[in-house]
């Protein structure tokens, strides 16, 4: 092999090596893009809801009202007969089997939607009014194009008869979409079209607040002690080793801790944001202490020496000068730690946050779910409608995480002093 050939070979090796690096970076970036694109394409349809417009005859004789018509008497009234009568009018039915199929075009809450409309517009009584009613999950998915229509009937969730009604309604322009406010206001449900993340949003909110209240002050105090006051001895070393190890302990172990100590020994209420917050704060604590200590360490010794030289005590030096200067770093570390806690699922499953909770929790001691647990719960459901709901929940979760990380980066870039 001549010198030139050898050189060429070496340069080719150089090019190949660089190419491997470029391919790896692009693979990683492509993974991010595929993941985000996949979630968004699945989830974006969850933000709209299919409605079917029905002529409802608010016949007061069907309501069996025994008192004068007002808001309260309407609230107590039974709208079932009235609702069924109006809904069945949208298409002729031969027998009770077909009637049931018509009713199954609508979400099981049709009775209450019809009732709510009248309570909002009490002057419509004894009139025939067009009312928009939420369609069932199957019709919703059909309308969004997620169900292939050309399958044989026994492999479809929608029968031929229902398809005929659907096409008929589409022709009459009775089917339309509106913004899905249920997604944000309702709790969990077995019916995808009625399920919302209102409950898990509140659950996550309470959990994160408790986690913040518990972990932020303790983390800051611990890092101030370790960075500024701790003598170099065995206890300090032991604490440091502990913190470093705890930061790397798998999150599921914290779930076992919560289950074994908080739930079974201390008997805290199960499935509540309170227990979730405490468990997550134990997990987040070391993850906050580490960046807090780093930002305290980054404050140059000259600041401390200047304060000490004009007669400040050690405490005054630390609390009047070092801590305020380190604040942007500690805050951004805390926010990033909380963002991790917000996305954590495994420990919450172990402390029972997987319970099916319909009601939206109003305090940290009410049973509830949280956003990531909701993702897990819905992803186990078979209905197609839950796939888009799950993806939408993930979009919300990622949205929160992006906002939190953005705030953390902003805090650091805007307020942190560069010392050199």
């Amino acid at each position: 092999m001549t010198k030139e050939q050898r050189l060429k070979k070496r340069y080719r090796a150089e090019k190949r090596f660089k190419m491997y690096g470029l391919i790896s970076v692009s693979l990683a970036v492509i993974f991010v893009l595929i993941l985000v694109q996949n979630i968004f394409s699945k989830g974006s349809s969850a933000f709209s809801r299919t409605m079917i417009e029905v002529e409802v005859n608010y016949d007061s004789s069907l309501l069996e009202l025994d008192s004068p018509i007002n808001q309260n008497s309407l609230k107590d009234a039974d709208f079932y007969d009235l609702a069924v009568e109006s809904l069945l009018k949208i298409y002729p039915a031969k027998d009770s089997k077909e009637e049931r199929q018509i009713l199954r075009l609508f979400s099981p809450d049709y009775e209450f939607e019809i009732k709510d409309f009248l309570i909002k517009n009490p002057n419509k009584i004894d009139q025939v009014v067009p009312v928009k009613i939420t369609a069932s999950d199957d019709i919703d998915q059909l309308n969004k194009g997620n169900f292939p229509r050309d399958l044989p009937e026994d492999r479809r969730r929608v029968s031929n008869y229902q398809l005929n009604i659907y096409d008929n309604l589409v022709e009459k322009e009775k089917i339309n979409k509106k913004f899905n406010n249920y997604l944000f206001t309702k709790g969990d449900s077995r019916d995808p079209e009625l399920a919302g993340i209102g409950g898990s949003l509140m659950g996550s909110f309470f959990t994160i607040i408790i986690c913040l209240i518990l972990s932020f002050p303790i983390a800051i105090m611990a890092s101030i002690y370790l960075e500024e006051f701790a003598p170099k001895n065995k206890i300090t070393d032991f604490i440091e080793i502990n913190i470093n190890n705890l930061a790397a302990v798998p999150s599921i172990v914290y779930g076992l801790l919560g289950l074994g100590i908080l739930l079974s020994v201390m008997e805290f209420p199960r499935s509540t944001p309170l227990v979730a917050g405490i468990t997550l704060s134990l997990m987040t604590l070391p993850r906050i202490i580490i960046p807090c200590r780093a930002s305290l360490k980054a404050v140059p010794p000259s600041i401390r020496e200047a304060a000490l030289s004009v007669g400040a005590s050690k405490f005054q030096t630390v609390f009047h000068h070092v801590v305020p200067l380190a604040m942007p770093g500690t805050l951004s570390g805390t926010i990033i730690g909380l963002a991790q806690a917000l996305g954590e699922t495994a420990p919450l499953i172990l402390i029972g946050m997987v319970a099916f909770v319909v009601d939206i929790p109003s305090s940290p001691v009410d049973p509830s779910a949280s956003l990531p647990v909701q993702v897990y719960l819905w992803s186990e459901q078979a209905e197609r409608g839950f796939v888009e709901k799950t993806s939408a929940t993930i979009m919300m979760l990622l949205g929160f995480l992006i906002v939190m990380n953005f705030i953390a980066v902003y805090l650091r870039q805007k307020f942190e002093k560069k010392w050199n």
């Binding site: 070496r10 090796a13 090596f17 660089k18 491997y20 690096g21 970076v25 990683a28 970036v29 993974f31 991010v32 993941l35 996949n38 979630i39 303790i218 611990a222 002690y225 370790l226 006051f229 701790a230 604490i239 502990n242 913190i243 470093n244 705890l246 790397a248 302990v249 798998p250 999150s251 599921i252 172990v253 779930g255 076992l256 801790l257 289950l259 074994g260 100590i261 201390m266 008997e267 134990l282 604590l285 070391p286 202490i289 005590s313 050690k314 405490f315 996305g343 954590e344 699922t345 495994a346 499953i349 172990l350 997987v354 993702v375 897990y376 992803s379 796939v387 993930i394 990622l398 995480l401």
Partner: protein
Amino acid sequence: MNSLIAGVILILCLSSYFFGRSEARKLVTQNIKLKALPAYYGYYLSLWCGLPALIIFGCWSLFEPTIIKVLILNNFPQIESKDLFYEQTLSFFNGNFSGEITNEIKAASIKYSSINVIAQNSKIVIIAAALISSLTFAYRKIQNNNKARDDVEIILKVLLFTSSLVAILTTVGIIVSLLFESLKFFSTINIFEFIFGTSWSPQRAFVRDASAITPEELLELQDAFGSVPLFAGTAFIALIAMCVAVPIGLFSGIYLAEYASTKVRKYSKPIIEILAGIPTVVYGFFAALTVGPFFRTLGESLGLTVSSESALAAGLIMGVMIIPYISSLSDDVINSVPQSLREGSYAIGATKSETIKKVVIPAALPGIIGSILLAVSRAIGETMIVVMAAGLAANLTINPLESTTTITTQIVMILVGDQEFDSPKTQAAFALGLTLFIATLILNYIALRVVKKYREKYD
């Protein structure tokens, strides 16, 4: 009631700060030279006012329910299921009990209400006594012009120290809770059966009460908890993950550190780090709903049978999750290799890639190995991806297209939903947790040691 007490204590704290400060200022008007700034006298009084009362209040609230429970149940020695009985009494007392109301429940709830009143009253009295005595004590100290700042600083230092002890407490809590249940588990199941047994089927252990196991049942149980398939599955999925993450992560790290222009680096590094910030449940969803079915249809078209919960799908996605841990850590260690080493290599005519391969990577090797070990520990502790995308059945296999299960999956599967304590099945989850804890602890310890040793070399 509790929030009222806490509120009163906090308001007293706040007002005693201002009171202490103004008292100190009065001393100044009497021509006494203060030993600290007036505000410190305020802090002093406020701390003395709040701390003892809050500590008593906290301990009381923590132990009150247990003590009341014991007091009440002592009166009813004949009741068999004491916990249930107490629950019923409480719900009857709160007026939302549905079920058969027995005389015992009525009697217990009357007892409960009387004890409750006594407890409430004595709580208020004791806290008030603590408040008054500690306030008088601190007030007299102030009047004598004590060294308020030194005292405040000592108290604060103790507070700071205590909060740093939380880390130790957490570790102790983890070890105690895991060990306690695991020891109970190992008293029914032979530890060697657990570590070396090859069949895992905890659903066979439906025995409710661990103390009433017959010898036949015990024999039956012994081989239901062989965790070798779980260890193997965990290691296997972690191996697949590392096969994805190590090359991609390492090459990305090298590329970003050595080749990439500032512009490429500025944009691609944060994008790769997004992968580390995405919650694992999202990866699990993606693996279970997109990647798993994709592999199955791909396998079908190639004539292979691929389980929709294949180890490959879970491992691949886990590998993607781990890429940023390896890439950013190795990026860091490569950057901290001194420039002089590279220049020496260039000077004798090596190309860039030769320099990287022969000089930079050997120098950065301990750091890279450390980062890989940390990534392995993350892979074996990862839960949601495997729970959602890997299988539940424990089968020993090295075929990546079949489904396997992992330690974390089994912990979740055992503990999800309601579980009865004191059954070997539940305790098995804690034993698995203990194994996981020890394994990750060892990996992290080695990794940190390796990284630390390397840092000392070049700094």
